[in-house]
C-alpha cells in the first residue's frame, strides 16, 4: 500500500512530517550520511543578528537517557548565514527554516526583516525558549505578553511562515500557545529543552560551565508528548512535536497526540540515519494499519 506522508504545516508544504531540529543539524551543510528523500525540512542552528562565541566548555553532559547542553547559541550572525548558507539552501529540495533569536523583541523583528525574501529561507522559527543565553531566550517564552510581543514584532516584518518554538518551563503552556497564535504565528513547535543541572562530584560544582543546560533525549519524551498534546488542544494552528524522538513509534505518539509534524534532534547525534528510519517507520506503520494519508491518522484530541 502506498501511503501519502505529505503534510501542510503553517504555510509550508512538506513532503514528509519529519524535520531536523534546530541545533542538531548545523546549517545542513555538514550532516553525515544524510538521506534527503526522508527529510521533510530542517531548522537551522539558532542565529542572532551578530556573531556569538557561545559558552565555555564543558558544554554537554550525558544524563540517564538524555543529555544536557549549554552551547549558548554560538553562531556567525545573520549576515554570514545569508552569505554562506542560504545560497546552498536555495538549491535544496526541502524547506529550510531559520531559528531566530534576540535579546529584545525589536531584534527579533530586525532579523525577520533581514531574512524576508532571502532565497533559500522558507520560514522562520522564533526561539523564545533557549535556556542557555543570559538575556532574551527563555525570558520571552515564559510570559504570554512577552511571547506575544516577540511574535507580533516578527509577524509585522515578514511574509514568511512564522513558527514559534516554546519552552516547557512554564506553568500553563496553553496560555503561551494561545498568546502566540493570537499574535499571528502560523504554527507552534512544542517543545524546547527542559532546564536541568548535574553535579561533578570531584569538583563539587555543576558539570556544565554555564551551570545549567537544556535536557534533551528520550528522558523528556513523555513530558514532551503531554505538553505537545496540551498545546494541540489549546490552539487551532498546527503543532510540530519535539522531544526525545528516536524511532517511528515515538514520532507517532506525537502525531496521535495532535501534532501535524515532528522534529528529530538529539537522536541524530547517536544515529545519523535516525530521520530516515523515523520517516520510513511512519510509512510502514500506516501501511500496516491501512491508513492512506497522514490526515487520516486518528488523533486523540478531546476538546473539553
Amino acid at each position: 500500500m502506498r501511503v501519502d506522508l505529505s503534510v501542510a504545516v503553517g504555510g509550508v508544504s512538506l513532503r514528509g512530517p519529519v524535520l531536523a531540529a534546530s541545533g542538531t543539524f548545523g546549517y545542513g551543510t555538514e550532516v553525515p550520511l544524510l538521506e534527503r528523500r526522508a527529510l521533510g525540512g530542517m531548522v537551522s542552528k539558532g542565529i542572532f543578528l551578530r556573531p556569538r562565541e557561545g559558552t565555555a566548555p564543558p558544554r554537554i553532559a550525558e544524563t540517564p537517557s538524555g543529555m544536557l547542553n549549554a552551547i549558548g547559541l554560538q553562531g556567525p550572525g545573520v549576515e554570514a548565514l545569508i552569505r554562506d548558507y542560504a545560497p546552498q539552501w536555495a538549491e535544496w529540495d526541502f524547506p529550510v527554516f531559520v531559528n531566530i533569536n534576540g535579546e529584545t523583541a525589536a531584534e527579533y523583528g530586525e532579523l525577520a526583516a533581514r531574512l524576508d525574501g532571502v532565497p533559500g529561507v522558507s520560514g522562520l522559527e522564533i526561539n523564545i525558549s533557549c535556556p542557555n543565553v543570559e538575556q532574551g531566550g527563555l525570558y520571552f517564552g515564559n510570559d504570554p505578553h512577552a511571547a506575544s510581543a516577540v511574535t507580533e514584532s516578527v509577524r509585522r516584518r515578514t511574509k514568511l511562515p512564522v513558527w514559534v518554538k516554546l519552552t516547557p518551563m512554564v506553568s500553563d503552556l496553553g496560555v503561551i500557545a494561545r498568546a502566540v497564535e493570537a499574535a499571528g504565528a502560523d504554527a507552534i513547535c512544542a517543545i524546547n529543552t527542559f532546564v536541568g543541572m548535574s553535579m561533578d562530584l570531584n569538583a563539587y560544582r555543576p558539570r556544565l560551565s554555564f551551570r545549567t543546560g537544556g535536557l534533551s533525549g528520550p528522558a523528556i519524551r513523555p513530558l514532551a508528548v503531554h505538553l505537545a498534546h496540551q498545546v494541540a488542544q489549546a490552539v487551532t494552528i498546527p503543532v510540530v512535536g519535539i522531544g526525545g524522538i528516536a524511532r517511528a513509534e515515538d514520532a507517532l505518539e506525537f502525531l496521535v497526540a495532535g501534532c501535524s509534524a515532528v522534529q528529530v534532534g538529539t537522536a541524530t547525534f547517536v544515529n545519523p540515519r535516525a530521520i530516515a528510519e523515523v520517516h520510513d517507520g511512519i510509512a510502514a506503520f500506516m501501511a500496516a494499519k491501512g491508513i492512506a494519508s497522514l490526515s487520516d491518522l486518528p488523533r486523540y484530541l478531546p476538546r473539553d
Binding site: 555538514e30 553525515p32 550520511l33 557561545g54 559558552t55 548535574s198 558539570r207 545519523p272
Partner: protein, 252 residues
C-alpha cells in the same frame, strides 16, 4: 565517513586496567589517518556514542585503547569477541605527517598512547626517525606496546625510566606530536609552540553539528574538537580555558 556494523574480534591487556579492543571495520581501517577517531555505539549502551582515537590498524581491523573510566567504557570492556558495535568514522583531522623533517618526537601520557602507533607508522613510512616518550604514574601503568627507533619511559613515581613527566623526559625533534591529559599538553605548548597535539573533550555528535566539543582558541572563540580538531598546533589552544580534568559521570 562510514557507518558500519562491526564485530569485536579480540581484546588484550597492555597496562594496568588498560586494554586494546580490535574491531572488524574494513572501510575505516583502509582510510583512517593517525590522530583521527571513531565514534562507537552499541545496543543497550549509553545514549551518546563514545569517541576513541584509532590506535592501530591491521588488515581489515582497527584497534582502540581504553580504560573503564565510566559506565560506557565498562560496558565495552565487558563485551565478548563477536559482539556487535556501530562504528562511525574516521572522524576529525589527524596529525599532518609528511616527508621533510628528519625526526619526530611522540609524547604520550597514559591513555594518550592512543593515536601514537599510527603516527609512528606514518612517520616511518616517509623516512622520519621516531622517538617515542611515554609516561604514566608508575611502571605498571605504562602501555607495553610503545615502539620506535628510540623509546623513552617516564614515571611519576620513578619506578621505571625517567623519574618525572614525559614532557621533561622528551628530547627535541624537528616535529613534536603529543597526546595526553590537557595539562600535559599545556606543558608541551610551553616548550614547543609548534607541536601538534590531540586534545580530549566531551563529544556529542562527533560530526560537527552539536558544537558540544568546543575548544577555546588563543585568537578568541571556539572551534570543534571533532571537526577542525582533535589535533591542534599547541600554541593555538587557550589551555587555561580548556578543562584539564574530565569527570566521567556514571550514567544509567
Amino acid at each position: 565517513m562510514f557507518l558500519l556494523d562491526a564485530a569485536i574480534t579480540g581484546r588484550r591487556q597492555v597496562a594496568r586496567d588498560m586494554f586494546v579492543i580490535a574491531i572488524e571495520a574494513p572501510a575505516i581501517a583502509a582510510s583512517v589517518r593517525a590522530g583521527q577517531f571513531i565514534n562507537l555505539g552499541w545496543s543497550n549502551g549509553p545514549l551518546l556514542r563514545r569517541p576513541f582515537s584509532v590506535y592501530r590498524t591491521d588488515g581489515d581491523r582497527i584497534e582502540i585503547v581504553l580504560k573503564a573510566v565510566g559506565g560506557g567504557t565498562a560496558q565495552l570492556l565487558a563485551m565478548n569477541r563477536g559482539d556487535g558495535l556501530s562504528c562511525l568514522g574516521p572522524l576529525g583531522h589527524g596529525f599532518e605527517i609528511s616527508a621533510g623533517p628528519k625526526s619526530v618526537v611522540l609524547i604520550s601520557g597514559g591513555l594518550g598512547v592512543a593515536p601514537m602507533p599510527l603516527a609512528a607508522r606514518e612517520a616511518r613510512s616517509v623516512g622520519i626517525r621516531v622517538s617515542w616518550v611515554h609516561g604514566a604514574r608508575g611502571a605498571d601503568d605504562l602501555c607495553s606496546e610503545s615502539e620506535g627507533d628510540e623509546v623513552v619511559w617516564s614515571t611519576d613515581d620513578g619506578s621505571k625510566g625517567f623519574h618525572g613527566t614525559a614532557v621533561a623526559a622528551a628530547p627535541d625533534g624537528d616535529l613534536v606530536l603529543a597526546c595526553g591529559p590537557n595539562r600535559m599538553l599545556a606543558a608541551v605548548a610551553d616548550r614547543w609552540p609548534d607541536a601538534l597535539v590531540a586534545v580530549e573533550t566531551y563529544m556529542g555528535c562527533g560530526t560537527g553539528v552539536c558544537l558540544g566539543c568546543a575548544v577555546p582558541l588563543k585568537r578568541g572563540g571556539y572551534d570543534r574538537a571533532c571537526k577542525e580538531g582533535p589535533v591542534y598546533r599547541a600554541a593555538d589552544v587557550d589551555w587555561a580555558s580548556l578543562p584539564s580534568h574530565l569527570p566521567y559521570a556514571v550514567t544509567a
